[in-house]
Amino acid sequence: MRSVRALAVAALCWLSAYDVSLAETPKSGGILRMYHRDSPGSASIHEGASYSFNVPFMPIFNNLVIFNQHIPQNSVDTIVPELAESWAWSDDKKKLTFKLRNGVKWHDGKSFTSADVKCTFDLLMGKSQQKFRQNPRKSWYDQVNDVTINGDYEASFNLKRPQPALLSLLASGYSPIYPCHVSPAEMRTKPIGTGPFKFVEFKANESIKLTKNPDYFRKGLPYLDGIEFTIVPNRSTAILGFVSGKFDMTFPTEVSIPLLKDVKSQAPNAICVVEPSNVATNIIINSSAPPFDNLDVRRALALALDRKAFISILFEGQADIGGTMQPAQAGLWAMPKEMLETIPGYGPDVNANREQARKLMQKAGYGPDKHLQIKVSTRNIPIYRDPAIILIDQLKTIYIDAELDVVDTAQWFPKVARKDYSLGLNLTGNAVDEPDQSFYENYSCDSERNYTNYCNREIEKLFDLQSSETDPEKRKKLVWEIDKKLQEDVARPIILHSRTGTCWQPYVKNVTVMSNSSYNGYRYEDVWMDK
């Protein structure tokens, strides 16, 4: 029943999206030229954990289902079929069955079947003989027992317990279907997909080229003849390139708020949108060693934060305050403001919060005559370094003298893994605005991506409870409760949720920037150019 409703909603969404196209008849042809902010490590989306992979390679693939590419806010109600024609949950909500599309071809001419679906998820679950070099989202499928197939065009996910979030995870840009007949190694260098664009070449540090797939199963699409990404790591050069018309579009969500002003002043006709990116700037705390093994010191830290100051300095006011889940309006699971402000450190009176923090510090043995000396570690990248400097300044107000410790990227994870830090300034991007992804990945005791090793078995029980809850309203209330507890536990204090800009030339049509994820909106099958 739910799937029928979702399909109806999806159909409406598609219709509304095509209103724009109807107003302006799409034209076929042209190469969309974009710059890419860096050279991704490989072409394999499943092995990456950055949208540097998704943007250039998502157009090569299809998922079983996908978030509607023209509705900015991803939610379970905006999921539409892709390689699947339809889906249905079993009555006990422990089996999700997909009817697959017939007649879809891989870019090398072979036929797509249910075996490819099984292969992909066996690889992701570590059940296949072949292995990925890295498998960062293995935990997404922890509740999947196995994937079974029934003939060539039906595949089922058999779950250990109900997990309504699974459909959203499958709709992410991180969940493409890979072909059985191509090895993971080949997928890193010459990916084969079923998507609207075929891979042409990837020259490291130079360019990535895609060309139109004439046999795409959606007849008449894509409109573009190809997409070319020029890798331009220097942001000034990249923006100048866009302003001069060398690029049709900036790298998505890569234009910072101050840069946006430059773009608008130099290219007044450019279309620019600013959207939340579901990336949270946060503090990781080593609570296994002094001084942050003391809950009072951790709470003092949370109380010392002046989030508005961070937002006004770094984002000229254009960022949001929230807990773990992305704040409203774009975020689907955000706590109500009244609830958020009851959490220590989130109250509007910063001076009162800091007064309370100083008392906690004095209780822990620190004061005006005895400051706590620590280091704030972070990566040597401006988006990490800049908030770390503001944090250091704010910590001075509660008797903490902190020193900036910039760490080379190669050393960041080994350093965090061996707990060689007190405080770290970190950025966490969420691929899907979905509590299962955020809670399990970042706060679950056994998660490989829980860098701080925060572990609270009681909260973990709540994770499972919300994850298996099939009533959306009840689930939302549970999520708020969990998020509040995580903030009160000072598990990983969230400073802010950023917003970023994306710009394109006025002749580029049908681009939609997602508002609660930076990972899911790059299929580009119906993007066209009026030129």
Binding site: S50, N135, S207, V232, N234, Q411
Partner: protein, 315 residues
């Protein structure tokens, strides 16, 4: 002369061997390796997966074995595979060499064709307004960082011409082809030209005070003949040395220019490979740069003898 060349060639081999050891050891001393970075990019660390990958890439072998494998491969023309792109290192490195060589060559050409004549002019007109003006130009050339100059050029082209001379592998017009190489070459060659100009000027000033120059003038030789035939030929030796050093520097030292103008050359690639700890790329590229430096030095030494008949090697 032949004995000298043989001795120099032998010394070149010893130098290159020493460099290969230094590169190899230094790379392993730097904390972190490709596996750390790949897992960093994937956002998690799994010790078992990490160990498997280290084994797969040969990073768990003893360091001496790793070195011998590299040198053995190098001697057979096998440069190994890039850890990142998983393509043969040679296939990754080769296409980038002509790009950097072209840029460096044009920068040197610009440097010599501007620096030497202006240096001579400055020396010949010592103490005049022209001399002061040229000295100001040369000092500014030495003071302006090339990345700043590059960005300035880009900004000026965008705001004044609405066009930008960044790299395009398939330029549409001759003007574009000219611009994408010559403008960056001028940006980087400006500093080099200033240096060449100052060296030429000081060297010329010294020569112009020699007795044989006075004799030439006394014999009635024209200014042009004295300045360009008698003086410049003798003043050019230190200039050649400087150009030689600049040539060697430019092969690996164009990182900023290649980044600003987005040129996919050797220098930018090297820095990126270093960031990824892509040992096969870094080792082989640094060895390539070392070979270029050693060969350029050798060529410059040989040129001395050709230009100045008083210099004889091997006696």
């Amino acid at each position: 002369m032949l004995a000298y060349i043989v001795r120099r060639l032998f010394l070149m081999l010893v130098t290159l061997f020493g460099i290969s050891v230094i590169i190899f050891v230094l790379l392993r001393i730097v904390p972190g390796n490709i596996v750390d970075i790949l897992f960093d990019a994937a956002g998690y660390v799994d010790p078992a997966d990490k160990a498997n990958l280290e084994k797969e890439l040969g990073l768990s072998d003893p360091i001496v074995i790793q070195y011998l494998k590299w040198i053995g491969g190098l001697l057979h023309g096998d440069l190994g595979y890039s850890y990142v792109s998983e393509k043969p290192a040679l296939q990754e490195i080769l296409p980038r060499i002509p790009i950097t060589a072209r840029l460096a060559g044009l920068a040197l050409l610009f440097s010599a064709s501007i620096g030497i004549p202006l240096g001579v002019l400055s020396a010949v007109h010592q103490g005049t307004r022209l001399d002061y003006a040229l000295r100001v130009v040369s000092l500014s050339g030495l003071s302006l960082p090339s990345f700043w100059l590059g960005l300035l050029i880009l900004m000026a082209s965008v705001s004044m011409l609405g066009w930008m001379p960044i790299y395009n592998p398939n330029p549409q017009t001759w003007a574009e082809a000219f611009a994408i190489y010559c403008i960056p070459a001028m940006a980087v060659g400006f500093r080099s030209a200033a240096l060449t100009m100052r060296i030429t000027r000081s060297s010329m000033l010294e020569i112009l005070r020699q007795d044989y120059i006075r004799t030439a003038r006394a014999k009635g030789a024209s200014d042009a003949s004295v300045n360009y035939h008698h003086a410049l030929k003798n003043a050019v030796l230190p200039v050649i040395t400087v150009i030689g050093i600049e040539a060697a520097f430019l092969i690996g030292g164009l990182i900023v220019t290649e980044t600003v103008f987005n040129i996919p050359g050797v220098a930018r690639f090297l820095v990126e490979a270093l960031r990824w700890r892509d040992y096969p790329i870094v080792q082989n590229l640094v060895m390539f740069i070392a070979v270029v430096v050693v060969v350029v030095n050798f060529t410059v030494d040989m040129l001395y003898a050709a230009i100045d008949p008083r210099i004889r090697y091997g006696d």
